[in-house]
Each structure stands twice: as C-alpha cells, then as structure tokens.
C-alpha cells in the first residue's frame, strides 16, 4: 500500500488582502487610524470618538432618527451643499476680481477659457438648491414639532442661519455684474430706502432732523449703508463681495458649529419621549 501521507495545502490569502493587511500594519497607517475597522462594537465606539469628522455624531442614536422618512436628510444636505459651495466658491475666487473693470469679463473668461469648467454652475445651482433644502429642513423640523422644548434655542439658531443663507445668495447674485445681477439687487435693495426712520423714503425719516438739518437723506440712509453708494455701483460690488466671500460664510459656519453642538446637547435627533 502506497504511503498516503496527505499534504495539507494552506489556503492562500489573496494578494489584495495581503497588501491591505500589510498597509494597515505600517506605522504610517496606524499613526492615522488608532484602531481597526469598525466591524465590532468596540471599534464602532472608537471610530466615533477618535475621528474629528465623525465626533459630532453620537456613538449610537435612535432608529427613527436615522430614517430618511423622519429627517428627509435635509439638514445634512444643507450642510453638504454649504461645503460644496465653500469649495467651489474658493476656486471661483482665483478667477474673479470684484471691480467694475474686471468683474463681468472675468466671468466671461471663466465661461469661455476654462475647458469643461462647471465650477460656476455648481456654485450657482448649489446655492439655489441650498435655499430650497434649508426651507425644507425647516418644514420638517416644524412638522415633527422638533422646535419644542428643549430645542427652542436651536430653532432660533436655525432661523438666523436661514436668513444668512438668503443673504449669502443675495450678495452672490450681484457678483457676475450683468443686467440680471444689478437689477435684481437694485429691486431688492430699493426696499431699504423705505426703512422706517432710517431710509430716506421711509415713514418718519423727516422726523429725524435737528432743526433744519435732515439727518436721513439719500446719501446716508439704510440703503446707502448697504450699497456704499446711492445706486448699485462700485461700492456695492466691493461690499457684497466682502460680505459674500468672507463675513457671511464665517458667521454661518460659526453658527453651524453651534447648531450641531446643540443638536447633540439637546438630546440628539428628536423623538417621542
């Protein structure tokens, strides 16, 4: 009888898996990710605690809160669109100079000389979309009664961000410096003329006088402060540019941090008690 010593063949680890194992054991990898993949409960906790981008989430949350059916994901999409807008806006800033001389031609250049360029489109459509998603987010927060205690304050933060979103959109609308832009801003900012007491065509403005000297007139009223001039011109372009690219994004970014923090501190996504 022949010798029937069987040879056991070790199952071979596929090359890719080997490579993966090797990569995840390097010092570089382990210096970035402090723990193994979140495939067990311990690591599912660790990933939330150690990752700066994920740490704004809780480790676990109510099942209803994860459902699209409940949140419509509208807050999250608003935030994502804000990030997209920040990124595409930054790229646009490389091309665009906010002066009467260059503003329009820079946009034309962007359109004609950048092959396959869609940054301006992504920025514009993203902005329109964000206005809509923020409204829908507010709508869902209302319909689930999520503004009720203890979330009153966060609702208020939200309302301010809603206003800021509209202002961001409004200030950005002027920058291409075409007919669409200046006339939309002219129509919008004409309202400020009629601010009670502070606009030169507002009720009560004529009361704002010392003796014969009118304090509120076309060259110093609320509209002037907004436009840096008596019409939509160079001053308005610079003001809107600075507001649009620096001031408003900083404020809304700051408020978003507060908003997300408060979602957590108010007990996570709302649900019945």
């Amino acid at each position: 009888m022949p010798d029937t010593k069987t040879k056991t063949i070790e199952p071979k680890t596929p090359a890719l898996v080997q490579a993966w194992d090797w990569i995840t054991e390097t010092q570089i990898w382990t210096s970035i990710f402090r723990h193994a993949a979140p495939i067990n409960d311990r690591n599912r906790v660790l990933v939330m605690l150690s990752n700066v981008f994920l740490h704004m989430h809780p480790v676990r949350l109510r099942k209803s809160g994860v459902r699209l059916r409940y949140t419509w994901c509208m807050g999250g999409i608003s935030f994502f669109l804000f990030l997209v807008l920040t990124f595409t806006g930054l790229l646009l800033m490389f091309y665009y100079r906010p002066t009467l001389e260059y503003a329009y031609s820079d946009i034309v250049g962007l359109r004609e000389h950048v092959p396959l360029g869609i940054m301006r489109e992504m920025h514009r459509w993203g902005a329109h979309a964000m206005v809509i998603t923020v409204w829908l987010h507010m709508f869902r927060v209302f319909m689930t009664g999520s503004y009720k205690p203890p979330r009153e304050f966060n609702w208020n933060v939200g309302v301010i961000m809603l206003v800021l979103t509209l202002l961001l959109s409004f200030t950005g609308y002027l920058l291409p410096w075409d007919q669409l832009a200046i006339w939309a801003i002219t129509v919008g900012s004409n309202m400020a003329r009629a601010t009670p007491f502070l606009g030169h065509e507002g009720p009560g403005a004529s009361l704002m006088a010392i003796g014969d000297v009118q304090l509120v007139h076309a060259a110093d009223d609320a509209r002037f402060a907004l436009l840096g001039g008596t019409f939509v011109g160079e001053g308005a372009l610079l003001r809107f540019y600075v507001l649009h690219c620096v001031a408003l994004p900083l404020v809304i970014g700051f408020l978003m941090a507060v908003h997300f923090w408060r979602v957590r501190k108010d007990g996570g996504i709302s649900g019945p008690l």
Partner: protein, 358 residues
C-alpha cells in the same frame, strides 16, 4: 390644444390663483385621510409632470420655465408638493395608530442603532447622490450671464432673486416700508417666536396632525400658501410692468390693466359724505387711522374677551398678545388682497407727506 391653453390662462389670475391654493390647503387639511393615499401622491406628481411636460411644448411657457434661474423653482414646486403630501401622510399614519391605541412609528423605533454603519452610510450615500445630481445639473444647464450691467437700461420686468419674489409680490398690496422692511422682519421674529408661543407639549418628536391641528394649519398657510405660492406666482406669472400673465400668454409689454385704485379716505369723504377731501391730513385720514388702530390694538383685546378666550386662558396675556399680533400681521396680507380685489382699495391710511401709506 389652444383651447386648453386659453382655458388654463383663464384661471391664471392672481385672485383665482390665490383662492385655489387656499382652497387646496383647506381640502388637504380637511380631507387629509383621502389626500395621503398613494393614489393622490402619485397622481399629483404625475399631474405636475404632465403639466410641465406639456408646458415645455408651448413657446411662451417654455420661455419662462427654462430661464436658467427659474429651473430651481420648478424643482421647488415638485419638492414642496411631495413633502407636503409626505409629511401629512406620516402625520395621518401616526394619528391612525394613536386612534387604534398603538404607539407612533417613532416610538416604535426608539431603540438605538450604531452610528457606524447605519447613519454614516446613509450620509455617504446621500452625499454621493447629491454630488451626482449637482454635477449632472451643472453640465446640463449653463449658469446665466446676460449683457454687462448697465445702470441706464432697466429691464422690464425687473425682478428680485426668486426667493424674494414673494416679498416683491407683496409690493402690489403694500408700500415698500411694509412689504420690504416691516413684514419681512415680522416673518423672522414670528419664526423665532414659534417655540416660545406654542405651549402645546404634544407632537414633540413625531409626526402628527390631530395633536397639533391649529399649529400645522397656520404654518402650512404661511409657508405654502403665502410664502411659496407667491414666489411661484411672482416668478412664472408676473411679466412686464408686473402685469399678470397666464402661463401660456405672450408677455406683451403693452398689455394694459385698468388700475382704478381708490383710497379709503376718498371712499368715505368723497363718495360717502359727498364732500371734498379735507386739507389737513389727520382729519383726512382719521378713519383709516382708527381702523388700523382697531385692527392691531382693539381687535386682539376684543378677541381675548370673545372668540379666542380659550387661547387667552391657555396662553396667558403675554403669549396671547404676541401670538395674535403676529397672526394679524400675517393675515394683513390676505385682508389687503381681498379689499383690493373686492373694493379696489389702495390704501387704508395714505399720508404721502410722511411716506406713510398702509
């Protein structure tokens, strides 16, 4: 085909438009059990699709809805109709559960799940989906760029950005200091006040209609009927000289609309007493002033005594008055619309001497 278009144009009149949206809201709230069926949901979406698809074939309609900056509003219409239906559906679902003595869906799903993977993956997928939609949209539709800015050449119509067109539409009924400054501020204040004036502890953290009837109806009225439908109206149906045009109508710059607007003072002094308008503005406007004071100061007190006593007792004086004042400000728009349509009334109080017209 043309007959159908003219028929639809016939309906497109600011009065009918407003009344139809209002009637739709009443029906949605009242007949919500039927409204939330799948048949209605799909039906509405199909109707919108057919309507806009059909509209695309019409030259004039096409011109308006394919204007690049108007495309998002077509999207808004679909989304708004969908989410109104969808949120009502979940509210009614939960109400049915409550009626059967069962807990709400959200209560049933109270157990915790892991953020990784349950939430993180959902987020990842929605990010990818959003990115794809945005890129496709950006490739398909070029951002608009018109002629270079020219201060001497006013386009007709001149429109504010679309999200402010509801406010611009209010300019038809109110002067800029109200439509552009006071009422928008009140909208913001009103929104911020909501959590503090709504004392109803129910309906926190789940969809429901029965437990919050008044709140939800008022919100839908403000958000869908006033804010959103006026945006749609201002975008699609207002043409040159801010005249009203049906969706299939040609935007004729020379379209004439008779404006026979009359001030309240004329109604009373000239038509009522048969005399000339008094010289002194205070005497001239005294009735309008009294009426306005009556609306914002006397009416809330009167309602507290009779009509809304239940709310006065439930909310207490501070909350009650803030609520009623905000509510009356919101209602001032439809009230002004109605008086304009029915009596051609332009201003209740008109003191051009001080730019003070209401």
């Amino acid at each position: 085909m043309d007959a159908l278009k003219s028929f639809i144009d016939l309906f497109a009149d600011p009065r009918l438009f407003f009344l139809i949206t209002l009637a739709a809201l009443v029906l949605i709230v009242w007949k919500r059990e039927a409204f939330v069926s799948n048949r209605w949901g799909w039906g509405l979406m199909a109707f919108l699709t057919v309507f806009f698809g059909f509209g695309l074939t019409d030259e004039n309609f096409n011109l308006i809805i394919t204007k690049p900056d108007n495309v998002p509003i077509v999207g808004l219409i679909f989304l708004l109709v969908f989410f109104t239906w969808f949120s009502m559906r979940q509210a009614v679902d939960n109400d049915r559960r409550a009626a059967a003595g069962r807990p709400s869906i959200e209560k049933d799903e109270e157990d915790r799940v892991w953020t990784w993977p349950d939430l993180v993956y959902t987020e990842l997928i929605s990010m990818v989906v959003c990115t794809v939609i945005l890129i496709v949209w950006s490739i398909g539709l070029e951002a608009p760029l018109e002629q270079p800015a020219n201060n001497a050449n006013t386009p007709n119509p001149s429109k504010a950005p679309w999200y402010f067109l509801g406010l611009q539409e209010m300019l038809v009924y109110f002067d800029p200091w109200l439509a552009g400054v006071v009422l928008p501020s009140l909208i913001i204040v009103g929104l911020m006040a909501i959590p503090y004036i709504d004392k109803n502890p129910k309906g926190n953290g789940y969809y429901t209609f029965n437990e919050r009837r008044v709140e939800i109806t008022l919100f839908l009225f403000g958000f869908v009927v006033l804010w959103s439908s006026l945006i749609v109206l201002g975008t699609f149906l207002r043409g040159p000289n801010w005249n009203f045009f049906g969706p299939f109508e040609y935007w004729d710059i020379h379209k004439l609309e008779a404006l026979t607007n009359v001030q309240l003072s004329e109604y009373i002094w000239v038509r009522g007493f048969g005399m000339a308008l008094p010289e002194n503005w205070f005497v001239r406007e005294i009735f309008g002033i009294l009426l306005t004071i009556g609306y914002i100061a006397v009416l809330p007190v009167a309602l507290a005594k009779k009509g809304l006593t239940r709310y006065y007792e439930k909310l207490g004086p501070a909350r009650y008055y803030v609520t009623v004042l905000l509510f009356l400000s919101m209602l001032s728009l439809p009230v002004k619309m109605l008086t304009r349509w029915v009596f051609d009334l332009k201003y209740v109080v008109s003191i051009p001497e001080f730019f003070f017209n209401i």
